[in-house]
């Protein structure tokens, strides 16, 4: 099978407009004859469910949390990009497109990224109309800031809680449709399987997390808006419940999984404090606008620091190494995330880390406070400083923050065409769950943009094209495929509960996380990846022999929920390693140590790897099949990223 990305022909700037015109429409009176399932209620899911319901479709929305408002989009801090050019500083749709393609290290589709930049302006209008309280200037107009190394100010924000405000906006639109009877909500419900009939997605099987009931739902189309898979690393900035289960089970039903090795490691997180650590907390990237990153120049000084013999303030200026400013004089502390993260790892690997575990660098506000006053810094970052102090017990106004990179976002995901449809007809993936727009590295403030673009402004057009070709025949759950899937799900649950082994689910999850972090994290080698593959296989076998899941299915059972998720992570982890092994180049968030420039920068191989790696499931314990979608660049010239 050749993957058809369905990219429209014609000039870049006209593709989306033309595509919208040539897409089939569903007659307004017929829309009510269609049912659409939306799994996940984050930015992508809530905006899609609300927008489709407004158009007249019947929507069923599912989330595993107790309310749609809890989805992890809520935790995004920094902001959302849009090419509004309100600041008159040279921004444009083309510039946002160009920055995103370049930032993604030329591993995304031009047409998708251009569309994303194009609809970005509508998102801001939509959110303001919903009552999202964005930051404003004294004149009453919207404020913008520069973010994540962008040379223009195009980021809209709501203090350090932009994701929260945008999600609550989408949640309010969703709530309105619930009240209108167009959306039926299923909270505390987890998707267990996608049901396909004659090759088309026709519904899902779910588990009611309160009663354990296994239920079936039929629809004309299924949208997976279930976020990323960063929790495969156990420790990440994702929420505890974030998981790959919906996407992975769709993958096993025939949806290709694309670029799984592209993971984003965020440079500014609070370091791990011990084995008890359950998650990592991000400190907004905006801190790098004023904070200076450094470690001691020598291992000896770092050792004294770790032993508590000296304090950070005792280290003289000449004994400090502001390594980002030294290596990248023009971007300094504002280099992209992957570059900042990797360099933190290097200095810590050299033995110059600054906390007890040796895995932390300083982010120092001393100079900014001296320059602008403590009050100014408090006004800018007060909530972040408070959060830091709450978690670490240290006062960052007096002593430098300690930070270390952590897994934050996954650019890979279900393969989708230009219409956001996966390789299973009628099954779509939106937001972080798909792979489409960020290439090998996502720019700051672009995740919120993509989630809302997909949900508000892309799927309402592209879904109609599929449904119109389908006819309005009702769907139901009587087809034998539903019963077959239910039996499979029940068998899996019985198997998990029946192992009655000796080790908890978390034991396996933590072990998997360590393997992934050590060998498939910030820097990868063929040797390490090969080792990891063997370790994951062994761990998976051990899991299915020795995991201990207490309780029953017919109750709220959080161990059972976790067991399902970790079982899927144990399969996904191996695919990530396969993908990282296959990609014999370095690009964006994927850094293979064998492939670097003499200066230690990522070395791409455009001749051999300018493609999307889409993996097809072949059966349990079988190697997956790699299918390549070539990336064609008609508008931008591929260059080596340089932030010197």
């Amino acid at each position: 099978m050749i993957l058809d990305s369905k990219l429209p022909a014609g000039p870049l700037a006209e593709k989306w407009t033309k595509h919208k015109f040539t897409s089939k429409l569903v007659n307004p009176a017929n829309k009510r004859k269609y049912t659409v399932i939306v799994v996940g209620t984050g930015l992508a899911g809530a905006s899609a469910a609300a927008s489709l319901a407004e158009l007249g479709y019947n929507v069923k929305a599912f989330c595993f949390q107790d309310s749609p408002r809890r989805a992890h989009s809520i935790a995004a801090q920094g902001g959302i990009n849009a090419a509004k050019n309100y600041q008159n500083d040279g921004d444009s749709v083309y510039r946002l497109f160009y920055d995103t393609i370049k930032g993604g290290d030329y591993r995304a589709r031009e047409a998708n990224v251009y569309r994303l930049a194009e609809v970005s302006v509508n998102i801001i209008d939509q959110c303001v109309a919903q009552g999202v309280p964005f930051a404003r200037e004294y004149g009453g107009l919207l404020a913008n800031r520069s973010f994540g190394g962008a040379q223009v100010s195009r980021t809209f924000y709501a203090r350090g809680q932009t994701g929260q405000q945008l999600l609550l906006g989408a949640y309010s639109a969703l709530s309105r449709q619930v009240a209108n009877g167009k959306v039926k909500l299923f909270p505390r419900t987890e998707m267990m399987d996608v049901v396909t009939v004659d090759g088309h997605a026709r519904g899902i099987v779910t588990r009611n997390l309160i009663t354990g009931a296994i239920e079936t739902h039929a629809a004309h189309a299924v949208l997976l808006c279930t976020g990323g898979y960063g929790n495969v690393f156990f420790l990440s900035t994702n929420a505890m419940g974030s998981n790959v289960t919906a996407a992975w089970r769709a993958h096993k039903k025939g949806a290709h999984f694309a670029n799984p090795c592209y993971t984003q490691i965020h440079p500014t997180c609070i370091p791990v404090s011990g084995d008890h650590q359950s998650k990592l907390t991000l400190m907004s990237e905006s801190l790098r606008n004023d904070g200076r990153v450094w470690v001691p120049k020598t291992v000896e000084i770092a050792e004294k620091l770790r032993k508590g013999e000296i304090r950070p303030r005792d280290i003289q200026e000449e004994d400090r190494d502001y390594y980002l400013e030294r290596k990248y004089p023009s971007f300094g502390n504002l280099v992209p995330r992957d570059v900042a993260s990797r360099n933190a790892k290097y200095v810590c690997d050299e033995g110059r880390g600054v906390n007890e575990t040796g895995e932390a660098v300083f982010l120092d506000f001393r100079d900014a406070i001296n320059r602008d006053s403590e009050d100014t810094i408090r006004a800018r970052y007060g909530n972040l400083f408070d959060m830091y102090q709450q978690i670490t017990g240290e006062n960052p106004y007096q002593t430098p923050m300690k930070i270390y990179p952590a897994v934050h976002y996954t650019m890979g995901g279900l393969w989708v065409d230009y219409n956001l449809m996966t390789s299973v007809p009628g099954l779509y993936a939106l937001g972080e769950a798909n792979f489409s727009d960020h290439g090998a590295n996502r720019l700051g403030a672009s995740a919120l943009m993509q989630g809302l673009a997909d949900g508000y402004f892309v799927i309402p057009y592209t879904l109609g094209d599929y449904l119109a070709g389908l006819g309005t025949k009702p769907v139901d759950t009587n087809h034998p495929e539903f019963e077959k899937s239910v039996q499979e799900v029940k068998a899996k649950i019985s198997k998990l509960l029946g192992i009655k082994g000796t080790k908890s689910v978390d034991y396996f999850h933590k072990k998997l996380g360590k393997i992934m972090w050590n060998d498939c994290g910030m820097a990868r080698t063929a040797e390490g990846l090969t080792r990891a593959k063997g370790e994951i296989k062994a761990l998976r076998a051990e899991f299915w022999k020795d995991v201990k899941v207490l309780g029953e299915n017919e109750e709220l059972n959080q161990s059972l929920e976790k067991a399902h998720r970790v079982a899927d992570f144990l399969e996904l982890g191996e695919l990530m390693v396969d993908d990282a092994l296959n990609r014999n180049e370095s690009c964006g968030g994927h850094f293979r140590e064998e492939y670097q420039t003499p200066e230690g920068e990522a070395l791409r191989d455009d001749e051999n790897f300018a493609y999307v790696a889409a993996w097809k499931y072949q059966g349990d314990e079988q190697e997956e099949l790699l299918e390549k979608e070539p990336l064609v660049f008609e508008n931008v010239k591929l260059t080596q990223r340089s932030y010197k």
């Binding site: 905006s47 989805a71 939509q126 919903q130 809680q161």
Partner: protein
């Protein structure tokens, strides 16, 4: 640290429930409160006992999923969410009592997990601006004074955790409801449905079985996001002016 936990265990909504004591050792002051419970659950699993169920998700103080009534206070001794509460707030040898939110409108599901769908239904009653996707004016078409936008933001930071209800002796949801009504009443986008919104949301709040407000201020004092009591005053004003002049409800 060594601790004794007195945890509310309740198999399901029909079960009567009661406290069970668990001794716990080797707790680090750097742990978050929920990580301390993770340790307890690992130990219980090891022993073959059902782990303590509690709600949690983001563990960074923003999703509003975590709850817990700790030593008689929602989210414990600090004005923050339980996930952001750290064990350095406790002393070695402490006995810590952990209960679920207690309110008729938040029925217990299991152990420390409660059902807060009533909050969703209050929002569904009118906590939105009725605009469809597309066809909206440019974002900068209506300037909003910074002070107004900031005040609306302060109300909008509510995370919907339910601590206000748990803190209130009447189990009132006035702070939660008023935060949304305030946010939208202050912004130009919320004007069209302003009266109807106040009436409908308050009607829903009452229908859910939340109690009345007697102005003790416990809700705001315990709110992890510091939502101000001013919002309740504003909601009352919105409500009275709505019922005096509108034809709804």
């Amino acid at each position: 640290m060594k601790l004794t936990l007195k945890v509310w265990r309740q198999k399901n909504n029909a079960d009567k429930g009661g406290f069970v004591s668990y001794p716990l050792d080797g707790i680090s002051t750097d742990m978050s409160f929920l990580e301390m419970l993770d340790v307890l659950n690992e130990e219980l699993t090891e022993k073959g006992e059902d782990p303590v169920h509690f709600d949690h998700d983001c563990r960074e103080g923003i999703c509003g999923m975590c709850s817990l009534y700790i030593n008689g206070k929602p989210h414990g001794p600090q004005q923050t969410t339980t996930c952001q509460l750290h064990m350095r707030s406790f002393k070695d040898g402490d006995t810590i009592t952990i209960e679920p939110w207690r309110a008729a409108a938040f029925p217990v599901v299991k152990d420390l997990v409660v059902d807060r769908a009533s909050f969703d239904r209050i929002i569904q009653a009118g906590g939105y601006v009725s605009v469809n996707t597309g066809g909206v004016p440019d974002a900068n078409e209506i300037p909003i004074p910074k002070t107004i936008a900031d005040e609306a933001f302060d109300a909008a930071t509510c995370i919907g955790c339910g601590a206000c209800v748990a803190a209130c002796k009447n189990a009132s949801a006035m702070l939660f409801t008023s935060a949304k009504i305030s946010q939208l009443a202050m912004l130009p986008q919320g004007q069209v449905e302003r009266k109807e919104r106040a009436e409908k949301m308050i009607a829903q709040m009452d229908a859910e079985g939340f109690g009345a407000c007697t102005n003790t201020g416990a809700c705001s004092a315990e709110c992890p996001k510091g939502i101000s009591l001013t919002n309740i005053a504003r909601m009352n004003r919105e409500y009275f002016s709505a019922v005096l002049s509108s034809e709804n409800v």
